[in-house]
């Protein structure tokens, strides 16, 4: 039993922490959240050069051939920095669908492509869990395919080069890749402006078959486990930031001639943030390991980690805002951005009760 990251993984963490602190300080994050694009596109190429986009992509396809555990270091750090960009959508969610498409893997590793997965439909399924209920249609068109349907809640839709559509053909549910025209995409107003969701309307859009119905199950499972574990790790990063802000402020801020951290009403809340965060961190790292090792417990571990970590992150931000008083409630303060991201994480792919239902099923229905 060994519960530690390797020296190489710690180096990667250090590299990510300093790169993101330099390139994406709080002011830059705030500025990007108001920009049209919502992110700094040039950062993607830099991240590819650092080897981040191809970390778990096999070496023969231009990647570094490492594992989800290595990527997990980055998910946590990207959360801590509140990085606005399609790393989660491209790397955590989409890569399993590209497993048999070497050209797409190579372009992600090279930093020339970004991608996302379109799952939810208005009035239809809202998570990978109910992918079986999709109504978007894939039809054979000549030697290829076309896709028709409406998707919503698509992460990073505006900037994704490839959109993987979970759709239905005559043979069953599978995944197709499309490069939708700008006119088909609408960025929906999203509470977390640093990670916007979009709505996609496609009418006989040319598509490429990525995952046939006979191969869907394992890809779906992998996508979901990777996605949930990555969100849990991001949430740990968010909680860490909210915790540091609360801890530091409670040491600096003086009222009644004392640092407010000397009052137990404050210090116990800071302790609570720390406790919940460390518990969530343990579960998130374990989930990451289960995903990397393709452990049969991965789906349960990832669902549990996402539930516990997103709750810890949301509570960390709420407690931190409370500890900061009026200042924490202002638009200028960085906390609300973290709070909104924490809530984004909590909601995507189903809230805490949906995740706990998955866990309950593994405990009670076996």
């Amino acid at each position: 039993m060994d519960f530690a990251f390797t020296d190489e993984q710690e180096m990667l963490r250090h590299q990510a922490r300093s790169f993101l602190a330099t390139e994406f300080p709080a002011e830059r994050i705030a500025e990007l959240s108001f920009s049209e694009a919502g992110w700094d596109e040039s950062s993607w190429r830099t991240m590819a050069e650092l080897g981040w986009t191809g970390l778990s992509i096999p070496e023969e396809h231009g990647g570094a051939g490492m594992s989800f555990l290595d990527e997990s270091v980055l998910f946590e750090e990207l959360g801590y920095a509140l990085y606005p960009g399609p790393y989660l959508s491209t790397v955590a969610l989409t890569l399993p669908a590209f497993a048999d498409a070497p050209d797409l893997l190579a372009s992600v590793a090279a930093g020339t492509a970004t991608a996302t997965v379109a799952i939810a439909e208005p009035g239809g399924p809202s998570s990978l869990e109910d992918a079986g209920g999709v109504r978007t249609e894939a039809l054979r068109a000549g030697r290829g395919w076309s896709v028709t349907g409406t998707k919503e809640l698509v992460c990073d839709l505006a900037t994704a080069g490839h959109v993987v559509m979970v759709a239905r053909s005559e043979e069953g549910v599978g995944m197709w890749s499309v490069a939708p025209p700008v006119s088909s995409r609408r960025v929906t107003s999203t509470m977390d402006r640093s990670r916007r969701l979009g709505r996609l309307v496609l009418e006989e859009e040319p598509a490429r078959l990525l995952v046939g119905p006979e191969h869907l199950e394992p890809v779906l499972r992998q996508m979901r486990s990777r996605g949930l574990a990555a969100l849990a790790l991001e949430a740990v990063g968010i909680a860490q930031k909210a915790f540091e802000l609360a801890r530091d402020y409670s040491k600096e801020r003086k009222q009644f001639d004392k640092a407010i951290g000397a009052y137990q009403a404050i210090s116990h809340q800071v302790s609570n943030i720390y406790i919940d965060m460390e518990l969530a961190r343990s579960l998130a790292y374990w989930a990451a390991w289960c995903v990397a090792e393709e452990d049969p417990r991965a789906p349960t571990a990832a669902a549990a980690a996402k539930a516990l970590a997103s709750e810890a992150a949301v509570a960390a931000c709420e407690r931190s805002i409370q500890i900061h008083g009026g200042v924490g409630f202002t638009w200028e303060h960085v906390l609300h951005r973290y709070y909104k991201r924490a809530q984004w994480i909590s909601s995507f792919e189903g809230g805490v009760s949906a995740q706990r239902a998955v866990v309950a099923s593994s405990l009670l229905d076996a």
Partner: protein, 388 residues
């Protein structure tokens, strides 16, 4: 990072599992050496068997009767004991607190006199720390020891002492100098519980069990060779004990919680509550908290093995365990519905859950109240200013 057992760990686990299966007497499952649990003689016998098989004091040095094994073996031992619902070693306080303290601060003579016997169950320990007027503020203690040449004369009263009614030895903190600031006049003693002048009286808890005791000391003679560390420097020694109480004990507590979660799941199924979405949600939460706690212990353990110092994460264990256990036992009573009021022989499972639920209220008080533990995390782990 790798959560699998190494081949050596796997072999140890397999052997241990087989041993427990072969040696745990029929009817001993789920019984602990507490009132209402396993009788003292049986508990001592079980502890002796554990020791003879080499499972007591796995991480203790060979020269003191231990096995000199890495901490992971202790974690595996506790997991497997919990899985089998085997009774705990009778020396909860000896193994978890007195022994580690003697190893750090004791004289060679003290180590030889006590460590081996603690492991074999021949010496059962109790703890004489809290007093009626000194709870969380332990350093204000007033039980005093007067110098009488080659020994001390101890007078005073201790309280909340588990196992005192069956204990052979006591780790006792006393005031040896009242003229200096409170932390500076404390001495740490090892006291033979059969000494003249010791009176142990049971304290009945809200469960109806007399698990705790008061200990009255009237002119009790304690040889000076029983001082641990230096005279008047007992506070630092006591801190070692408390660090172990709240630290390594975390594993044992988590193992107990694991048993409790398994029992909760069995109860939920038995009572047909597994179709209730709210119960399902709460059961999932309990399992997640258990899993997170167990993994946090592993994380602290890895830090300990790599650096020799337990990770700060470890400070969470007792605090979170106690609160999680309270929620769990309340959930069990909720599942029992109107039958939750029936206890003892009329209760479901013979009143097991009623007892567990009431007992759990002590969890956030004993071994450092949750309030004190939150202070400790805030001040010592997070570096916040002192509250007092």
């Amino acid at each position: 990072m790798d959560f699998r057992d190494t081949p050596e760990e796997a072999a140890f686990r397999k052997e241990l599992r087989g041993w427990i299966e072969a040696h745990l007497p029929e009817g001993w499952r789920g019984r602990n050496p507490t009132p209402g649990g396993l009788e003292v003689d049986a508990a001592r016998e079980w502890s002796k068997r554990l020791h003879e098989a080499g499972y007591a004091g796995l991480t203790w040095p060979l020269e003191y009767g231990g096995q000199g094994a890495p901490y992971t073996y202790q974690a595996i031992f506790l997991e497997e004991m919990a899985r089998a619902e085997a009774p705990e070693h009778i020396g909860v306080i000896g193994l978890g607190m007195a022994g580690p303290t003697i190893m750090v601060h004791g004289t060679e003579e003290q180590k030889r006199a006590h460590l081996h016997k603690t492991l074999s169950g021949e010496e059962v320990w109790c703890q004489g720390f809290s007093e009626p007027g000194s709870g969380s503020d332990l350093a204000s203690l007033r039980t005093k020891a007067e110098d009488a040449g080659d020994h001390y004369i101890v007078n005073g009263q201790k309280v909340w002492s588990s196992y005192a009614h069956i204990a052979d030895m006591c780790i006792l903190v006393v005031r040896t100098d009242a003229s200096v600031p409170k932390h500076k006049g404390i001495t740490y003693l090892l006291v033979d519980m059969r000494s003249a002048g010791i009176d142990v009286r049971p304290l009945v808890q809200i469960t109806g069990d007399p698990e705790f005791n008061e200990i009255f000391f009237t002119d009790v003679a304690v040889p000076k060779s029983n001082v641990v560390g230096e005279v008047n420097e007992g506070w630092g020694v006591a801190m070692t004990t408390l660090l172990h109480e709240r630290g390594t004990l975390g594993f044992a507590l988590t193992a107990r919680l694991e048993v409790a979660v398994a029992k909760l799941i069995a109860l939920v199924k038995e009572r047909g509550a597994d179709a209730d979405p709210i119960v399902r949600d709460r059961v999932a939460q309990q399992w997640m908290e258990l899993q997170a706690l167990k993994l946090t212990n592993y994380r602290a353990l890895t830090t300990l093995m790599k650096t020799g110092i337990p990770g700060p994460e470890g400070s969470i264990a007792k605090l979170h365990w106690s609160e999680s256990n309270q929620r769990l036992t309340k959930l069990a009573l909720d599942v029992l519905g109107p039958h939750a009021q029936l206890d003892g022989d009329d209760g479901v499972w013979g009143g097991y859950w009623q007892h567990q639920q009431l007992r759990s209220r002590g969890n956030t008080i004993e071994a450092g109240t949750s309030e004190i533990l939150r202070n400790i995390i805030a001040e010592r782990v997070l570096g916040l200013p002192r509250s007092r």
